[in-house]
């Protein structure tokens, strides 16, 4: 299995500028890191030439400290049962990614989601303006610097009584004059 995964890596790196790679033999998985510009041609090559026909998922990770978004495409070869993760980093301040729904039409849905949830721009994406959120006015909600707690407090009135996030177990024990056993104490706040 290891040699087969190595071969996949070698074959891709001959054709494209491979930045980095990682092989997980036990999971039958290869991670390939590329620059943003190479991603469409890499995906097309993997799909057409190397039998990675199935797009399992597209995902985005917010690396706030490094100021980057990581965009990941999870591909799957049905015959060999091998996974390939194609990864790239894009700038967090000005996130633009190429629209690739002509390779896999289902990418259209993923791209709509990331446009809404992370604010990533996909030039040329033909889709309705809204995906899940309706009449959303705030910043993209899945970014890590979006303060959900504060947003909820500003927009939705909270019922008084849960500000202190009090531990119910302690209150009940105090009221009935019992001691909390040691094994339960580690779960108390």
């Amino acid at each position: 299995m290891e040699t087969l995964l190595e071969k996949i890596k070698d074959r891709v790196s001959v054709n494209f500028d491979l930045k980095d790679h990682k092989i997980y033999a036990d999971q039958k998985r290869v991670d390939l890191f590329f620059k943003k510009e190479h991603i469409p041609s890499v995906l097309l090559y993997l799909k057409e030439q190397m039998d990675f026909r199935h797009l399992m998922h597209m995902s985005v990770i917010d690396w706030l400290e490094e100021g980057e978004f990581e965009v990941i495409f999870l591909l799957w070869a049905p015959k060999e049962k091998i996974k390939v993760f194609v990864k790239t980093r894009i700038d967090r301040e000005n996130p633009v990614m190429e629209n690739m729904d002509n390779i896999w039409p289902q990418l259209n849905t993923y791209e709509r989601e990331f446009k809404e949830m992370y604010g990533i721009e996909f030039p040329g994406l033909v889709a309705p303006e809204e995906f899940i959120l309706e009449a959303w006015t705030g910043p993209p909600p899945m970014r890590r610097d979006f303060e959900t707690d504060k947003f909820a407090k500003d927009n939705f009135a909270t019922r008084p009584g849960r500000e202190d996030a009090q531990d119910v177990r302690e209150t009940i024990a105090k009221r009935s004059g019992e001691d909390i056993p040691d094994f339960a104490k580690k779960y108390s706040r």
Partner: protein, 181 residues
């Protein structure tokens, strides 16, 4: 002609007794609470022996059972549904999400207090409330109807401006007609 016991007209006492024994429920299945409704309705807990039954459409229903958290998007539809229902109508808030947000209290698009937007007659606490608790809630609602104090619908009509103001605060794309009863 008033009954001095609880200040209801005798005709109201008869009407309410009839109403409380035939509650037709529109279970608006938001969130995870919808899964407790089949258990309540089917043979083991058998809510029908209390006169509680499912209704097909809002216009045929008496009780709006809101089972769980409401996103802003769903809230708009729920308000629409509630306003389509005909009198007498009651709202049951089901689960802690409708009371104070529950585990979604800090979510970016779920409301925390249902009674700001709709008049709630009975809250059922719990996460999730078991069918016993749901039946208890229906029992409470029947008790309130019998006493003639489950008047959320009248409260909504009288304080429509208050409710509208709250609703418009969270629903940004408000496009309802400005109608009144």
């Amino acid at each position: 002609m008033y009954n001095d016991k609880n200040k209801q007209k005798i005709v109201d006492i008869i009407k309410n007794a009839a109403r409380k024994h035939s509650l037709w429920v529109l279970a608006y299945g938001t969130g995870c609470g919808a899964i407790e409704v089949p258990a309540t309705m089917t043979s083991r807990y058998d809510a029908e022996r209390l006169g509680v039954r499912g209704a097909a459409t809002p216009r045929q229903a008496d009780v709006l059972l809101i089972t769980g958290y409401l996103t802003v998007k769903t809230l708009k539809r729920v308000i629409r549904v509630y306003e389509q229902m005909q009198d007498p109508k009651y709202v049951i808030g089901f689960g802690s999400c409708t009371i104070n947000g529950g585990m979604y209290f800090d979510s970016y698009n779920t409301i925390n207090q249902l009674d700001l937007y709709l008049p709630v007659d009975v809250y059922i606490s719990g996460c999730m409330p078991r069918p016993e608790a749901v039946l208890e809630g229906f029992g409470k609602l029947q008790e309130l109807i019998g006493k003639g104090v489950a008047n959320g619908a009248r409260q909504y009509k009288d304080n429509l401006d208050y409710y509208r103001e709250n609703q418009k605060k969270v629903i940004k794309n408000w496009d309802f007609q400005d109608y009144n009863w």
